[in-house]
Amino acid sequence: MTATPTTTEAIMEHNGEQPPTIVEIEGLHKSYGDHHVLRGVDFQVTRGEVVCVIGPSGSGKSTFLRCINLLETPQAGSIRVRGTELNDPDCDIDTARRHVGMVFQQFNLFPHCSVLENCTIAQQTVLKRSKQEARAIALANLERVGLADKVSYRPAQLSGGQQQRVAIARALSMEPALMLFDEPTSALDPELVGEVLTVMRGLAEDGMTMIVVTHEMAFAKEVADRVIFMDGGVIVEQGEPASVIGNPRQDRTREFLRRVLDPTHV
């Protein structure tokens, strides 16, 4: 396991092997009181895959994403991340979460910490890395998102797009095996969306395994290996972006895409 994921994957592909499954979800149910949000979701992601989750608001896609690192506790179902069952009282959730990076719609940067500290604090407290090591890794990731010149800024001094890129660098600094994005561009002004999507596209090209809840259909079409359409707490349709977005089979998918792609059409 000393090789980087991309290299391992290349070797495996060469040998005709399937890349390993990173996330395996079976029969996921989640409800808040009487409100049944997830009604039996089955789902797998293999290493290096980029999955975009689309669907109308209230379809359960964010809840589904938040179940993958147990920010929401499901009522029933199995969630295995790299073989570890998370929906189990014996599971050490803090350890499991280290391998899963999360990027939120509202960025959720730590306002009392500098940009650099945002990227080092969990490395030092959770992974017990030395200050110098944490700093070096944080700087490399800030470089990757194009913000190495902002290390001493506070989050409040940055634009929304810059804040979201710091949030990505913060998650990457933990060297996760999987990245979750919960509508990462929905809180941004339109002109700032591009810089965040560019960073995400770069991550995908580098072989990062990503699950992205998004409304950016063009991004999903271009970057995703697979698109999932959710509605009413279930996966309605999934497949290659060209077929799900370009030529949907289900009526519900078609209806949703018609509304998203042509909002003025009644």
């Binding site: 979460r97 009392h112 959770v126 992974l127």
Partner: protein, 268 residues
């Protein structure tokens, strides 16, 4: 109809002009009250009973400094102890464990509801209840515990509110990075919560400064008196209020710089 009449009487008066005239009338009344009061006061008697210059000088040279120091030392110790206890109580109130919540709620309601003086008198009886109980750093230890108990009951609610004022996404971000709930609380939530809490905690510190005037109820020797008890004692001996007035003004020496400092911290 009425607006028509008003316009007829004062056709060119704008609302701003009218507000100015009303303000001017208020100033005139205020000045009149001040003048009448100043004329009515028996200045000689007031100066003699409340502000005897000679006695004021003696108050300052004969122990005011020591009393001021005691007030500060009592309050700081009580505040620090109270703050630690209050943080623990606030975390208990927010705990998932029902028993912790009940204990903390009962503590806060009990000690916040009782008059401070009664708590202090009860505390003086504590060594009777527990035979041989000795609180260290006498008399400071006892005073600190007394003020800490009362202060923590008030501050616990402030801290709880401060913790709850930190957006939920902060805890989620911290936990998603693999931090335990304890680490997330210490490194992410509490530093932000204490920022929010600076103004209300200042209020409680100032209240604690004044509550320190009640610690005489625990039973202190003369050499350990704080400002109020010292001033009252000297006022009784001299049959003149001046020492108490001086002691009262000495509180401002503590509270005014404190308010100034906190305003600076808030602006930062």
């Amino acid at each position: 109809m009425s607006s028509l009449t008003a316009e007829a009487v004062a056709p060119h008066r704008s609302p701003r002009k009218r507000a100015q005239r009303r303000r001017l009338a208020q100033y005139v009344v205020l000045a009149a009250v001040a003048v009448v009061a100043a004329i009515g006061i028996n200045w000689r008697e007031v100066a003699h009973v409340f502000f005897d210059l000679h006695l004021a000088g003696r108050t300052i040279t004969e122990g005011l400094g020591q009393a001021l120091w005691h007030t500060i030392a009592f309050t700081i110790g009580g505040f620090v102890l109270g703050l630690v206890a209050a943080t623990a109580l606030a975390l208990m109130r927010l705990s998932d464990v029902a028993v912790y919540r009940w204990i903390a709620t009962a503590y806060v309601e009990f000690f916040r509801g009782l008059p401070t003086l009664v708590v202090f008198i009860a505390l003086a009886l504590l060594p009777l209840a527990f035979n041989g109980l000795i609180i260290p750093f006498s008399p400071y230890g006892t005073v600190w515990v007394a003020l800490g108990i009362v202060g923590s009951a008030y501050m616990a609610e402030t801290i709880r509110a401060g913790i709850q004022a930190v957006p939920r996404g902060q805890a989620e971000a911290a936990r998603s990075l693999g931090m335990s709930s304890g680490t997330a609380m210490r490194k992410i939530i509490l530093p932000q919560a204490f920022r929010i809490m600076i103004p209300p905690l200042t209020n409680e510190l100032i209240m604690l400064i004044k509550d320190s005037s009640l610690v005489f109820a625990i039973g202190l020797s003369v050499s350990d008196f704080e400002l109020t008890t010292f001033g009252k004692g000297m006022a009784n001996n001299e049959a003149n209020i001046t020492p108490l007035v001086i002691a009262g003004l000495a509180y401002l020496v503590i509270t005014l710089p404190l308010s100034f400092l906190v305003r600076k911290m808030e602006a930062r």
